[in-house]
């Protein structure tokens, strides 16, 4: 048997065991420097996921970059519209332009945008809004008037109350945002200013999380490790004994993380928690082993004999607890979220590695201890020996609970019922900002800026016209008619026409399918125009007709320049405002209406969409004579086939985003999209909703799958359906109670909470396995359930409780972390331990008492 070989090897060649471990640690530790941190929530979706691909395409198509938002607030009577604040803002904006890794030409601030205004009768003026800071209050007031007059700046660049202004900094790569923010902060510190500054934006939250996560990996995990160590020392009172589980946990973590990094996986928010998850699991088995060893080892046995006895005894439950934990985590591979899959599979690997080390390293370690140490060990009584406080309370617990089975069982059923109600109250929601605690500067900045502005969270509604086939049909019909007519006049244009079509086709090499046909038409127009100059006299008339037809079709193709199309967008925008979540939306309509108004003397009657496509085109042509014509292409593509509505949301909560999505769906049902137009979502806030939905669905599958497999394993392990199902009770109760609490407390069901179902599944079945296995042995040995059950509240109950306490308390330092997912894990570990320990020790014995007739037939029959 493999077990025998392994254990014999450990006993015979302990030095080899240590050497092999050392080599493994060196090899895997050597891989660690290759670590790549990845905090991009977009990576929660596979890179080829449909919505993510579209989001990337939209970013490329509209030239949109991720944004860092710098907010500046002055609560004085003039708000930020005072010469000093504006001077500071000007200086800050100018210096920001020199930071590496940003997109300087797209930075939005009062100091970089254009003003469109009237300059006397019949005169329109394009000028920088604030090329130089104003020197008088009157000049500052003029800037205020100008901003309030321009809808696409008001409430985006300056808040309507004039108290807050924002600088939007587009960045090239999200993973640079922490550095860029540090540089911006450096500039702010160097300014002589009374204003308060706040920095926010999703990329900042993500990158900051990455940096702080790294810190947490370096602090929280070791602190938790230390506390676990101290608790074990309290229980076992032997440093030499408890050093081994700590070494084992370290080796497991180093090998698992080293393997993960070595295999080229990035360390994501999820995988950063692998070490925190592995530590309790790795420690649990060895604590069981050592707990029994210290109980069994006396002067009159050899350590090897005692250890062999313990291993014989615990091998099966340890194997099964490890397998169940591994399966619980491996089932996460069923979710469609790559970082969660990696997390689950590597933990499963770590769990099995810890098991393997438990049955090899721990025995090798114990027999390698010097005789003096062992001597000492045999003499030390563990803190909680049979008469210690823990032992006494457990005995009392056993007696007490078995005396009031009905009350306790009713209470258990009541809690179950209440939990079911709680589970139904669960709100599925996530928001990367909520991964920080409320007092975190990012959460504060987020709150403050969203109080003043329309919203700092972005989502995009993208409308695309896909009627290429119709365009082509119209084009062919028109041109064929002209060619036919030419033929009837015995002018054969076909060879020339074919040649023109071909040459226009050759240039079309756009990545974007939607624009290929209009691009072809545009090329063809130029080709015909060129040809006209060199054409034979008899061809000219027809070529001109062909040119006109081609231009007609090309004009029709410019869909989002047509007043009807813009009216649809305008109405949709108005409807979005009624959600209360969308603070503001920006679209090409806003540019058209504003410029049209300014072309018409700034009269508010003209704040509307002009009546013809040509009027819209010429309005937009006028706008392009500004300093920043490129701003237009963030809202509509140059071929006018795709338009994007930029939504500024006040909240990045997925529930709120989902509500906006539902609103738009309803709107589209009652106001159908124009023919050929397709609507899709993009933007980080939307992407978060997509992966969350995938996660929730995936988690249900994964949990059900794991639950089913673990149930089968229990039935197989105990060769009994009844025992198998009983063993599932603590685990089911733990999961149900914990999610019941989540529901009642109103904590959002977010990514960390979802993942913890796997941890509950893996850890809470352990106690039941140990308990049932030991009880059956005890019943065999003692002859009856009645005799066996009090003994269960001695050594076996102590081992279980020690474990529960060590892990529950050991991970409380996670509550001190500034990152909420770490707090959640700390809290949950404690809850899992307490609930599963109590259910195992209280409810299982009661149920077994009722069912003993079915469970222990043989033992009862032969007393």
């Amino acid at each position: 048997m493999i077990k025998q070989h392994l254990v014999n090897f450990a006993f015979q060649q302990p030095k080899r065991v240590f050497l092999l471990m050392l080599v493994a640690v060196i090899v895997f530790a050597a891989m660690m420097p290759k670590i790549i941190i990845d905090t991009d929530p977009e990576n929660m979706l596979p890179s080829d996921q449909e919505d993510r691909v579209f989001h990337e395409a939209v970013k490329h198509k509209f030239g949109i970059n991720d944004l860092i938002v710098v907010g500046m607030i002055n609560e004085g009577p003039q708000g930020i519209y005072n010469t000093r604040s504006l001077g500071v803002l000007h200086q800050l904006s100018q210096q920001i332009l020199n930071i590496e890794g940003i997109v300087p030409q797209d930075v939005l601030s009062l100091a970089t945008v254009d003003n469109i205004s009237q300059d006397g009768p019949g005169t329109i003026r394009f000028q920088w809004m604030m090329n130089q800071p104003p020197t008088s209050d009157a000049a500052a007031g003029e800037i205020r008037n100008a901003v309030e007059n321009l809808p696409f700046l008001n409430n985006t660049i300056v808040s309507p109350d004039g108290i807050a202004t924002a600088i939007y900094i587009p960045i090239l790569h999200k993973d640079q945002s922490y550095r860029i923010v540090a540089e911006v902060e450096g500039i702010i510190d160097s300014l002589d200013s009374d204003d308060s500054f706040y920095i926010t934006g999703l990329p900042v939250a993500e990158d900051t999380f990455g940096v702080e996560m790294f810190l947490q990996m370096a602090t929280s995990a070791p602190v938790a490790g230390l506390l676990v160590f101290l608790l074990m020392w309290y229980f076992f009172r032997s440093l030499s004994l408890i050093a081994s589980p700590m070494i084992l946990a370290m080796v497991t973590i180093i090998c698992t993380m080293g393997l993960l990094i070595g295999m080229g996986y990035t360390v994501h928010i999820m995988s950063s928690m692998i070490m925190i998850f592995l530590m309790p699991i790795a420690v649990v088995d060895s604590v069981h082993l050592l707990s029994e060893f210290s109980d069994r080892y006396h002067k009159d046995t050899t350590p090897e004999a005692a250890m062999r006895e313990v291993i014989d005894h615990l091998y099966k439950p340890m194997l099964y607890t490890s397998l169940t934990s591994a399966i619980g985590f491996a089932a996460l591979a069923l979710t469609p979220i790559p970082p969660v899959q990696v997390f689950g599979l590597f933990i499963a690997f770590g769990v099995m590695l810890a098991f393997f080390l438990t049955i090899t390293f721990i025995p090798a370690y114990v027999i390698s201890l010097s005789p003096e140490r062992l001597q000492k060990l045999a003499e030390t009584t563990p803190q909680d020996d049979n008469n210690g406080p823990l032992a006494n309370s457990l005995k009392a617990l056993g007696k007490g609970s078995l005396a009031r089975p009905k009350i306790l069982l009713s209470a258990f059923l009541l809690i179950t019922a209440v939990s079911v109600i709680g589970v139904n109250k669960i709100i599925i929601n996530d928001n990367p900002f909520q991964w920080f605690q409320e007092s975190h500067r990012l959460r504060v900045a987020d709150k403050v800026l969203n109080e003043h502005f329309a919203g700092t969270y972005n989502a995009f509604i993208v409308l695309e016209q896909h009627n290429d086939a119709e365009l082509q049909a119209a084009f062919e019909e028109k041109t064929t008619a002209i060619l036919e007519q030419a033929k009837s006049q015995s002018v054969d244009l076909t060879p020339l026409w074919q040649q023109l079509l071909q040459s226009a086709d050759e240039i079309v090499l756009s990545e974007d399918n939607a624009s290929i046909y209009p691009q072809f038409l545009q090329n063809l127009v130029l080709k015909i125009d060129d040809q006209l100059f060199a054409a034979d006299a008899e061809h000219i008339e027809y070529l001109e007709a062909l040119l006109e037809s081609t231009e007609d079709v090309l004009n029709t193709s410019k869909y989002f320049q047509q007043p009807e199309a813009l009216a649809y967008i305008e109405a949709l925008q108005e409807s979005l405002l009624t959600t209360g979540i969308v603070g503001k939306s920006n679209a090409v309509t806003d540019v058209v209406k504003t410029v049209y108004r300014e072309l018409n003397e700034g009269t508010s009657d003209y704040y509307r969409i002009p009546d013809s496509s040509a009027a819209v085109a010429q309005t937009l042509l006028s706008y392009q004579s500004s300093h920043r014509p490129q701003d237009l292409w963030r809202l509509v593509t140059p071929n006018q086939r795709s338009a994007s509505i930029w939504l500024q949301l006040k909240s990045g909560d997925n529930v709120d985003m989902s509500q906006v999505i539902a609103h738009v769906d309803d709107y589209i049902t009652s106001h159908p999209l124009p023919a050929g137009v397709e609507m899709r979502w993009a933007g980080l806030t939307y992407i978060n909703v997509v992966w969350q939905e995938a996660m929730v669905k995936g988690m249900v599958t994964s949990l059900m799958g794991a639950f089913f497999v673990v149930s089968l394993m229990m039935i197989f392990l105990f060769r009994s359906i009844l025992f198998g199902l009983l063993a599932m009770i603590p685990l089911s109760a733990t999961i149900l109670f914990i999610y019941g609490i989540v529901g009642w407390v109103g904590k959002d069901y977010d990514m960390p909470v979802a993942i913890l179902s796997a941890l509950s599944l893996g850890l809470s079945v352990d106690f039941a396995i140990h308990f049932v296995q030991r009880l059956r042995e005890m019943v065999d040995k003692e002859g009856s359930f009645e005799k066996a059950i009090p003994l269960m509240f001695e050594q076996p109950a102590r081992a279980i409780t020690r474990n529960a306490i060590v892990i529950a308390i050991g991970f409380l330092p996670l509550l001190l972390s500034p990152l909420v997912p770490y707090n959640t894990v700390g809290m949950f570990l404690a809850a899992i331990m307490i609930i599963s320990c109590l259910t195992t020790l209280v409810i299982l014995p009661i149920l077994m008492t009722y069912l003993k007739g079915f469970l222990f037939k043989k033992a009862q029959e032969n007393p």
Binding site: N555, Q618, P638
Partner: protein, 267 residues
């Protein structure tokens, strides 16, 4: 063959040397000659221009227009009239742009938008705004006043005078300075590079093709590149003629709504 090209090179070199010795690093003279070649060839002229605007994402747009120009009588290389008529894209067809360029004073500019049936005067002020959405600025088309910058001859190579131009009023422009390469052969400024306050070159204008037309050196292919966004605009000038005898009335306000067809027609 080889000998022949050597001979050509030698002649070119001699020509260049002759030019250098004649002007002897007089930087003001160099820039004024370049200014003349770039903006003042002939007394008047007509050209058709096609701009292909490509943005950083590869999107392409077209602007096609015909441009008429006439120098005012009086001092050389001074005030000028321009009239521009757009023909493509067809939705902006007949949009007109009229300019009276004043040296030492702001220009007068008008726009006629047929779709809105509206004549708008465009406030003078900043000339460094985009020319109809292209990567060329209005100032690149009409010419930057020689008095706006301080000129310094950086280099005098076999082929070029390299002149550094530093603005006298740095707050009025977005660059720290710009450098111009002036071809000694024909005085054409063939390359201009703009450097920002951080010392980075962020913008470039090149004359890709210079042709002799009616005896005047003329840039027929020009490219403006925005090095930050990766976008660029290629301008092709065709059907160019000089000294065609444009009457003054062509440039009147009336022409905005009623463009003088005979001068805009391709001949």
């Amino acid at each position: 063959m080889k000998g022949f090209s050597k001979l050509l090179a030698l002649i070119a070199l001699l020509g260049a040397t002759a030019a250098t010795s004649a002007e002897e690093n007089d930087v003001e003279l160099i820039v004024s000659k370049a200014n003349h070649v770039a903006f003042y060839q002939g007394n008047d002229g007509r050209a058709e221009s096609r701009m292909l605007i490509t943005d950083g994402g590869g999107n392409r747009q077209v602007r096609q227009f015909t441009i008429l120009r006439k120098d005012h009588s009086g001092p050389d290389d001074a005030d000028q009239d321009f009239l521009v008529r757009f023909s493509r894209p067809s939705d902006v067809r007949n949009t007109m742009f009229r300019v009276i360029k004043h040296i030492g004073n702001s220009d007068d500019r008008w726009l006629y938008l047929p779709g809105l049936d509206l004549v708008k005067r465009i406030s003078s002020g900043d000339k460094r705004t985009s020319f109809v959405g292209s990567h060329f600025f209005y100032e690149d088309i009409s010419g930057r006043s020689l008095g706006a910058d301080q000129h310094e001859l950086l280099e005098n190579t076999d082929q070029y005078y390299v002149v550094k131009n530093t603005p006298l009023d740095p707050t009025s422009v977005e660059f720290a300075f710009y450098t111009v390469w002036i071809d000694k052969q024909n005085w054409m400024p063939t390359k201009t590079e703009y450097t920002d306050n951080a010392g980075k070159i962020y913008r470039r204008i090149e004359a890709l093709e210079v042709k002799d037309i009616d005896g005047f050196a003329t840039a027929t292919r020009m490219k403006a590149s925005d090095l930050r966004s990766g976008g660029s605009t290629l301008t092709e000038m065709r059907y160019i003629s000089y000294d065609i005898g444009l009457p003054d009335e062509v440039f009147s306000e009336r022409s905005l709504r009623n463009p003088p067809q005979q001068w805009f027609k391709r001949k």
